[in-house]
């Protein structure tokens, strides 16, 4: 771009800083690929990289133990972590822009908590209906769980969207945390109603975890997440306008209501699905978009949104990798790592710019 005549030369036009976002996005793709590869290659059982590669190319012996582990454990786990992380990063950014609040996110606003209650209600209903809980076993169960979680998430988001018009942004965050606690309590109480053997299936799910998701689950999880991420990416232009507030967005011809509805539905669908199959994963939703902003140094969503998704996926893979590195004495919880990474970022946001809105 050339500077108009009679004006000081402008170095930072839109294109002046255009290189940096592209480089950052490429680096994030590379990071994601490496993290994904590491997740496939590393684990408690040592499997030769050549064998993993052979399996991925479809040239492995079906009865081989290594191949079995990669196919049934590591690959679905890596895919789940990548999808889950992308969901947390992407929906965190969506909510931060919609609520104009740097500390918003599906976890901190209680949306994942709501999704969990949705699942608990569904389990109780199924249990009362007398049938065995098939959620983790078949496609039908997966759909039910994902649907219940999506409804729980959507109900919470709708409530928060209304609350955001009445209370300040700090109060909103406290409200979200209280909802998370409330949801945790409700979930426990609800699962108490279920016979012990059926409730036990869900104990592991009390803590966030990308492991244990089957291919059957993934067949529901992946489309929902990809649908959510895809519709979010279609909104990059109106999301940019939302940065100035809804009134300005409206004056620029943005269909504010519709954009908000699509974005909230996308978040409900993907964050709900991830919570349904992986449980509640904390902190990454707030931390990832902020780190992405720091890396890209921009607030343009066409850069920031893919960056938040890529970074979220990569960070979730790395965090998951840390939980099952060989040589550890005990099982490390995913949320412990998420908190160690994410909480300092949140604290940093609070101190740095408390009133960014």
């Amino acid at each position: 771009m050339t500077a108009p005549s009679g004006v000081l030369p402008i170095t930072a036009s839109p294109s002046g800083t255009a290189r940096r976002p592209q480089v950052v996005l490429l680096l994030l793709v590379a990071l994601l690929v490496m993290a994904f590869a590491a997740e496939l290659l590393m684990g408690t059982v040592a499997i030769a990289p050549a064998d993993v590669l052979a399996l991925l190319m479809g040239r492995a012996d079906a009865d081989d133990t290594g191949a079995l582990i990669v196919r049934t454990v590591r690959l679905p786990r890596a895919l789940t972590a990548a999808l889950g992380g992308a969901t947390l990063g992407g929906s965190g950014l969506l909510l931060q822009t919609l609520f104009r609040n740097r500390l918003a996110g599906p976890w901190i606003l209680g949306v994942t908590g709501g999704a969990r209650v949705g699942v608990a209600v569904w389990i109780v209903l199924v249990s009362l209906a007398g049938s065995f809980v098939p959620a983790r076993l078949g496609i039908g169960g997966s759909i039910g769980v994902a649907l219940a979680a999506g409804c729980g998430a959507a109900a919470t988001l709708a409530f928060m969207a209304i609350a955001a018009r009445r209370i300040g942004s700090v109060s909103l965050l406290i409200l979200g945390l209280m909802l998370t606690f409330l949801a945790g309590g409700l979930t426990s109480v609800l699962l108490h109603l279920v016979p012990e053997d059926q409730g036990r299936v869900w104990e592991a799910w009390n803590d966030g975890n990308f492991g244990g998701v089957t291919w059957a689950n993934l067949r529901i999880l992946a489309p929902l997440v990809l649908l959510g991420l895809g519709s979010a990416l279609l909104l990059v232009k109106p999301l940019d306008a939302f940065q100035l507030g809804e009134r300005y967005a409206e004056s620029m011809g943005v269909p504010v209501r519709r954009v908000r509805q699509i974005a909230l539905c996308a978040v409900s669908a993907m964050a709900g699905a991830v919570t349904a199959f992986c449980g509640v994963v904390a902190f990454l939703d707030v931390a990832v978009p902020q780190l992405a902003r720091g890396l890209c140094r921009t607030s343009e969503h066409r850069v920031l949104l893919p960056a938040a998704m890529l970074l979220g996926a990569a960070m979730a893979l790395c965090a998951d990798l840390l939980t099952h590195l060989p040589g550890g004495n005990r099982i490390l919880h995913l949320n412990a790592i998420a908190a160690v990474i994410g909480a300092p970022v949140v604290i940093w946001i609070v101190f740095r710019r408390p009133d960014d809105g």
């Binding site: 004006v7 402008i10 800083t17 279609l234 940019d240 100035l244 507030g245 300005y248 607030s299």
Partner: protein, 327 residues
């Protein structure tokens, strides 16, 4: 040309209507700067949003050229009307250029990719709003005045037909306000854009606007050149209810004072004018004839500078001493 045709602005809830601005008909020419003045709560913002199309009118039409603004699709309307609201813009990472480029949104495609023409329009708007120098900086680092000029540029990048600016100068100090008004008038003339600015700056509006819209609380809107409204007394009447007096001779506002005492004043030149001002500020009515019960002030040009004499007392060296000497 903006043509407002029997417009009634207000709010409708169910069957009841609350009329804020009754039947208004007027026009604004391209390149004209209109200042909308009125006390708080008179409905300035309501009128602006109704004209801009974001609020449906209770009756009447708003025409821009030959198009009815309220019948347009939001995107088409956004292409010809742009606003600056009183909301604070907080997007610290956005650069000035990017903020102004957001104004191109109604003109761009699905992903908002800017064409060369869009970029040229952004640069042009920045130049007219005198904001080119701050364009590369993130808006979180800018002063209020710089940010307001960028918001002005953003609006101009969006539309070159009608700008509605709601209290654009409200957060600024006096030099910045004067500066923005100067920029605004020049921008209107150069771009041929009709500009409506609501403001509380009576004095600046009187000096800058091509037309004034006076909106008294509950009353009908009065439209005219600033000087016409002063001469017809409309200006005085619009603010009379708020306890502000407008002095048509000085073209300035004055706070009415209950303790009106007369002082006679003699002298000449600039010192005389400012002495009169100081006396009025202190609550005196200034007259030129001497009277019995009236204190007498003389402004005297002496060799060592201006001196003030109160009655027959010793010459005083400053207006401050003079005022302090009066009860």
């Amino acid at each position: 040309m903006l043509r407002v045709d029997a417009l009634v602005a207000g709010y409708r809830s169910g069957a009841t209507q609350r009329i804020v601005v009754p039947a208004l008909s007027t026009t604004v020419r391209p390149g004209h700067l209109v200042c909308l003045l009125g006390p708080n709560g008179a409905g300035k913002s309501t009128l602006m949003h109704t004209i801009g199309g974001s609020l449906a009118p209770l009756a009447g039409r708003v025409w821009l050229g030959d198009r009815d603004l309220h019948a347009l699709a939001p995107r088409a309307r956004a292409q010809s009307v742009a606003i600056v609201t009183t909301e604070r813009v907080t997007a610290p990472l956005l650069t000035g250029w990017q903020l102004v480029a957001l104004g191109r949104q109604p003109h761009t495609g699905w992903f908002g990719t800017l064409t060369d023409e869009d970029r040229a329009r952004v640069d042009h708007a920045l130049r007219l709003a005198a904001a080119t120098d701050v364009a590369p900086r993130p808006i979180g680092d800018l002063s209020d005045g710089e940010r307001q000029r960028l918001l002005l540029a953003r609006a101009l990048a969006q539309s070159d037909q009608l700008l509605l600016l709601d209290e654009l100068t409200a957060f600024l100090d006096l030099p910045r306000r004067v500066d923005v008004m100067r920029v605004l008038r020049q921008l209107a003339r150069e771009s041929g854009c009709a500009v409506v600015l609501s403001t509380h700056d009576l004095d600046l509006a009187l000096r800058t606007a091509d037309r004034l819209w006076l909106l008294p609380r509950g009353g009908p809107l009065q439209v005219g050149a600033p000087e016409d409204l002063v001469l017809s007394g409309a200006f005085r009447d619009a603010f009379a209810a708020d306890g502000i007096e407008f002095d048509a001779h000085d073209g300035a506002f004055r706070l009415p004072d209950a303790r009106v005492r007369a002082v006679s004043l003699e002298g000449e030149g600039l010192a005389l004018r400012w002495t009169a001002r100081a006396l009025e500020r202190a609550g005196f009515r200034v007259q030129s004839q001497r009277g019995d019960q009236v204190r007498r002030v003389r402004v005297v040009a002496a060799r060592e500078g201006t001196r003030w004499q109160l009655d027959d007392g010793a010459p005083l060296a400053s207006i401050a001493e003079l005022i302090d000497g009066l009860p």
